[in-house]
């Protein structure tokens, strides 16, 4: 049935001994995760079922492997489902059994065979200083590897805040000159899936959506709107307490235990766009705010340099010693005021002397 061509995703399911019903269940779960409209949800099985498994190349650069750790904990679709049934993960230096020159040769081979069609997933920022010497894999700098791999990619998916916005390597003083993927890949569609790490279902869901329908609708930071369309604050179960003006003062006080808002403790939920409050983590168990900690804003650009995780969002983002500056301003104002009053007195005297 599949002689002379790659098997479709549905055929791969069937080869694995899974029924068409299982495939439809997978599609239904994915459509639900993506909150697809009814028409799109109905199209999903047909599109996904008729499509050959696409080649995926997963490159890791300046990162901590947290994003891949997150991806392996996806429940819907599961990572096994994704890499055994939906995609052909042809290169990932952490998950693959091959290593050294053999692994690099396999990557080159996969990229050549699927030139112009493969999906490139990038995890981590890319250092540019010293010709990229801060991150070298198999004798090639991350900079060269990314440029080379992006040339033949149908799309580039930047997974994690480091790849999407530079993340922690990009944070001041950025000693390696790290940059995000989108700064280096100009001629290919880039989808950012930010988060430190991103929610696993958001990674897998976006990949499945891309395979079925192409590039999803993106926000100003090139993130899929279906997952990054709302702020954490707007979907937070503690939001009613914000509206009532009830705020936890410490992490273990009565208010915190009663689910009061964590805004005063530095929660960045109001300016953080992600699906944590709806999709949640660990198969929908909970998310950081539910575990009692404010949102760090990890899916936003420059979250590491935003003035402190435990400072309320509305507090001043002061540079230097603001108290000394304001003290100096008061002193300067007093001197200018005294000088202007002295000048006025002098003019008064001169005027009365004339008379």
């Amino acid at each position: 049935m599949t002689q002379g061509r790659n098997p479709t995703i549905l055929e791969v399911f069937q080869q694995q001994g899974l029924s068409r019903r299982a495939f439809l269940q997978f599609c239904a779960a994915t459509a639900s995760l993506l909150a697809l409209p009814a028409v799109r949800a109905a199209e999903l099985p047909a599109k996904l079922g008729a499509m050959p498994r696409p080649t995926v190349i997963y490159l890791s650069f300046q990162e901590c492997t947290g994003c891949l750790e997150s991806l392996t904990r996806s429940f819907s679709p599961t990572i096994e489902n994704l890499i055994f049934n939906t995609i052909s993960l042809d290169y990932n230096d952490t998950l693959q059994a091959a290593s050294g020159d053999a692994a690099e040769a396999a990557r080159e081979d996969a990229m050549r065979k699927a030139a112009g069609k493969y999906v490139l997933i990038v995890d981590g920022a890319i250092p540019r200083l010293q010709d990229g010497a801060y991150c070298v894999i198999g004798g090639k700098s991350a900079l060269d590897s990314l440029r080379h791999a992006a040339e033949g990619a149908a799309a580039v998916v930047a997974v994690g805040t480091c790849a999407a916005f530079g993340g922690i390597p990009y944070a001041a003083p950025n000693p390696t000159g790290a940059v995000p993927v989108q700064d280096l890949v100009g001629n290919r569609p880039v989808i950012n899936i930010s988060g430190c790490p991103p929610i696993p279902e958001v990674i897998t869901g976006t990949i499945v959506y891309f395979l079925s329908f192409g590039v999803p609708e993106l926000d100003v930071h090139r993130r899929p709107l279906m997952f990054y369309g709302n702020t954490i604050h707007d979907r937070c179960y503690r939001r009613p307490f914000y509206d009532k003006g009830l705020f936890a003062k410490t992490f273990d006080d009565e208010g915190a235990r009663n689910g009061w808002c964590l805004y005063e403790l530095g929660c960045k939920g109001p300016v953080t766009y992600n699906a944590c409050a709806t999709t949640k983590w660990n198969n929908g168990t909970s998310f950081p705010i539910e575990s009692g900690h404010g949102c760090l804003g990890c899916s936003e650009p420059n979250f590491w340099d935003g003035g402190g995780f435990y400072r309320p969002l509305s507090s001043g983002f002061w540079h230097g010693n603001v108290g000394a500056e304001l003290g100096g301003a008061v002193a300067a104002g007093a001197i200018i005021g005294a000088a202007s009053a002295y000048a006025a007195r002098h003019r008064q005297k001169a005027t009365s002397g004339d008379k």
């Binding site: 003006g245 003035g307 008061v330 005021g337 202007s340 009053a341």
Partner: protein, 217 residues
């Protein structure tokens, strides 16, 4: 640095510096002015009492002027009290003040703040309509009046738009709101909004002078 961090960082910091320089400059410049010696015999030495009486008695019009001034005074009180509630009662504002001064106090529920903000905005709009439709008031008004109105309205309007998430992303709306506050802070000492610091000083000084002359306050 993104727009929000510029707004809550350097923009706010510099506008506070301008605000501090300007307010102290204006206050020192006025309070250190020479006063003409008054050689007349005082009819009352209780000048402080006169100052306080004047501050209190001028909080509302005399009965004979009430018909003509009640509307203006009412909307004036609505937006002044409204501004005070919004500025000092909204928890994010209190947290900002605490980050600057170390002083904090309990806040009000957000719903009360939103309603108060809407009433304040309506009262400010009414004040502008009155200024534009009253021929005498329009003749007396200058650029300072209209610009001071604008920089007062802007933080209220942008704040309400931000909490309602209207027209743009929340962080952009929040940045615009903070920029509008920066504009207010930078302008306040140099225009008619300086009355927020001078109102009781000027009213008290007048009261003290009238008390010395034995006038009824």
């Amino acid at each position: 640095m993104d727009l929000l961090n510029i707004a809550r960082g350097p923009a706010l910091q510099w506008s506070l510096v301008v605000f501090a320089v300007g307010v102290v400059w204006r206050l020192a410049g006025i309070l250190l002015l020479a006063r003409k010696p008054d050689y007349t015999e005082p009819r009352s030495t209780n000048t402080w009492g006169g100052a306080v009486r004047m501050i209190v008695s001028r909080t509302w019009s005399k009965r004979e002027f009430l018909d003509r001034t009640a509307f203006a005074q009412t909307i004036g009180y609505v937006f002044h009290i409204g501004l005070a509630i919004v500025v000092f009662g909204f928890v994010p504002h209190i947290l900002f003040i605490r980050s600057l001064t170390g002083l904090g106090w309990p806040g009000l529920p957000s719903g009360i703040i939103y309603v108060t903000g809407a009433l304040t905005l309506a009262a400010l709009a009414a004040a502008l309509v009155r200024r534009l439709t009253n021929p005498v008031l329009r003749l007396l008004s200058n650029v300072d009046d209209y610009f001071s109105w604008l920089v007062t309205v802007a933080p209220v309007a942008t704040g309400l738009v931000a909490v309602a998430h209207l027209g743009a992303r929340y962080e952009t709306l929040l940045a615009v709101h903070i920029f509008s506050v920066c504009l207010l802070l930078a302008w306040l000492p140099f225009g008619k909004l300086m009355h927020s610091f001078l109102v009781f000083i000027s009213r008290g000084t007048t009261g003290a002078l009238l008390a010395r002359k034995g006038a009824s306050i």
